[in-house]
């Protein structure tokens, strides 16, 4: 559904590339996870997908067409992206906020009709926020807010869904329920791409994981293939071990404490 091919991006006045030859596919009916250290190019990938960052070389395809050949609106009809940075200026109701997801599907003179209302209600329900529909967006908790953002993306009715750090500020149960939601959306046929620092969650829910390191793909494959201690140690520059989730057997990463310096020797009597 989404295909990154040799994607290279260089920011103005930067000496090295933010993305350098990144290639992978995001298939329908599955979750693809992208992880990597801070500054490895994860968010740049999302910015490039919505054309906020021009490609130096390579291409990004949506359902077979290069994003260069598509209008901004057509990109938004094919893929719903919830970027990391969002600073809404004026609070509104959850329902109005979610209905902004219909923007790419409405013509200039067309006003929202019955089918748009139905799509918005369905999106609210699917994201589990129907009961919040009349609340103001500035009164939501972190977990509710992330779900409302997903509702807006679902209202776009694209075949692909891209989320950048959807679990920032979320507690354990909200994190888990959000990933369960993404997993079931993928099971219904969506192509889901999640950019996240939560490697353990990606390992449990994603079909494919891409590890980025300084703009390059350091590893790409199933969680079992990618979650290797030597590889992740070198990418993150931190000692760690990979164990197993006791229930599902999926790999789980445990970062280690640095070996503590030897305790100061106690004064000996002899």
């Amino acid at each position: 559904m989404i295909r990154f091919r040799d994607v290279a991006v260089r920011y103005a006045r930067a000496s090295s590339r933010a993305l350098d030859g990144v290639s992978f596919d995001v298939a329908v009916s599955g979750v693809t996870g992208v992880a990597g250290p801070n500054g490895s190019g994860k968010s740049t990938l999302v910015r490039a997908l919505i054309r906020r960052q021009p490609l130096e070389s390579g291409s990004i395809e949506l359902a077979g067409d290069s994003i260069i050949s598509l209008s901004q609106r057509e990109i938004a009809r094919r893929v719903a992206v919830a970027p990391q940075r969002e600073e809404a200026a004026f609070p509104t109701t959850v329902r109005e906020y979610a209905s902004l997801g219909r923007y790419p599907r409405l013509g200039l003179w067309e006003s929202a009709g019955k089918s748009d209302e139905v799509a918005v209600e369905r999106a609210l329900e699917r994201a589990g926020v129907s009961d919040l529909a009349d609340r103001r967006t500035d009164e939501l908790s972190g977990g509710e807010w992330q779900r409302v953002r997903i509702a807006r993306a679902l209202a776009q009715e694209g075949r692909a869904l891209v989320l950048d750090e959807p679990t920032t500020f979320l507690d354990l149960s909200h994190e888990m329920s959000l990933f369960e939601l993404l997993h079931s959306l993928a099971a219904e046929g969506l192509a889901v791409l999640v950019v996240s620092h939560q490697l353990n969650l990606l390992a449990r829910f994603a079909r494919d994981v891409v590890i980025l390191d300084r703009g390059k793909v350091a590893a790409h494959g199933s969680p079992d293939e990618v979650m290797s201690a030597p590889l992740l140690e070198s990418v993150y520059g931190w000692p760690l071990v990979v164990s197993r989730d006791p229930a599902t057997g999926s790999p789980a990463l445990v970062p280690l404490r640095r070996p503590s310096p030897p305790p100061p020797s106690s004064p000996s009597e002899s």
């Binding site: 103005a12 901004q72 009809r77 923007y103």
Partner: protein
């Protein structure tokens, strides 16, 4: 009828009543019934002439100024994602004032010359703000904050230029410049009304068409792009059209402060968030505010007139503060 529907009916009714009262009020008071008759050309010829040639153009001009400034402010606050954004803050007032003062200092006292110079000054300031913001912004892009900064700085620069220009000017020029900067609908004529009406219809129409883009731009640059807006082009168009709309009002009546800033907040406090109804509401509330302010400006201390720009602020700010309490 929905809750919102009543807002509109009440708003439009109040505006119409206000206009009839404003047209009827003056050195020769005219009863509302006679006002309505005179508008249709019935009644005493003298009354018909006073209303059609003197008072009506003034009230219509005041409405257009308010509508233009209200829409301009609403569009700028949304697209720049900042409740403090307004056309005057972005260099419109400073640039227009420089234009007008320069024209007055050069001895060009004709209204048309001053208007034209003000419009040109505003245009130059706004384009300059845009160019400065693009040059300073990351990757050559106009960041909303950079744009606001550029506007504020250009406005401050314009004020300095005005003070230097007026420092050794003859008292007549200073008085003329000061009056112009305080704003007045007193010179209204059907030709000035027609010129402003054309600008407001075109500019306001473009903003209403772009209103849905503004809804999305208000979410931020990246979410807007993700939802399919051509962010740079849309934001630039909204900025230029809003600024030109405000410049047209400045050319017609000088500086009328605070309308662009407070009117959109008043409309938002009424629960309207989408920019198409918000801009329409800002036009209505802005028109009502300026008609009321102009009425106060010419009746509170007759026969002298108070500066319109100051009266809008005196009327608007307390109302704004009361709404602010309600909104938060």
């Amino acid at each position: 009828m929905s809750h919102r529907g009543w807002h509109w009916i009440v708003g439009i009714t109040l505006f119409v009543v206000l206009c009839i009262v404003a047209v009827g009020t003056g050195p020769i008071p005219i009863a509302p019934r006679d006002v309505v008759n005179a508008l249709f050309g019935r009644g005493e010829q003298a009354v018909v002439a006073i209303i059609r040639e003197l008072r009506l153009p003034r009230v219509v001009l005041a409405s257009l100024i308010g509508a233009g400034l209200g829409m301009s402010g609403g569009a700028l606050q949304g697209s720049l994602r900042n409740g403090l954004a307004e056309p005057y803050l972005l260099g419109v007032s400073g640039g227009a004032a420089v234009g007008a003062v320069v024209a007055l200092a050069l001895g060009l006292n004709a209204d048309a010359a001053v208007s034209l110079a003000a419009f040109a000054g505003a245009g130059v300031a706004v384009v300059l703000a845009l160019v400065v913001a693009r040059a300073a912004g990351r990757g050559g892009r106009g960041d909303p904050r950079t744009l606001l900064m550029a506007g504020v700085v250009i406005g401050a620069f314009a004020n300095a230029v005005i003070m230097i220009a007026l420092a050794n000017a003859p008292p007549n020029t200073i008085r003329g410049a000061l009056w112009w900067m305080m704003g007045s609908a007193g010179d209204a004529s059907w030709s000035s009304v027609a010129a402003l009406a054309i600008s407001i219809s075109i500019g306001g129409g473009v903003l209403l068409v772009l209103a849905r883009d503004i809804d999305v731009l208000a979410l931020g640059e990246e979410p807007a792009a993700a939802l399919g807006v051509d962010v740079d082009r849309s934001a630039r168009t909204v900025f230029l059209v809003s600024a030109l709309l405000a410049s047209a009002t400045v050319a017609a009546a000088g500086l009328v402060g605070f309308v662009g800033l407070i009117v959109p907040h008043i409309v938002r406090a009424g629960g309207i968030r989408r920019h198409r109804p918000l801009l329409a509401g800002a036009a209505l509330v802005g028109a009502s505010l300026v008609v009321a302010a102009d009425l106060a400006a010419r009746t509170l201390r007759p026969p002298a007139e108070l500066p319109l720009g100051a009266v809008t602020a005196v009327l608007g700010v307390p109302f704004f503060l009361s709404q602010l309490r309600r909104a938060t």
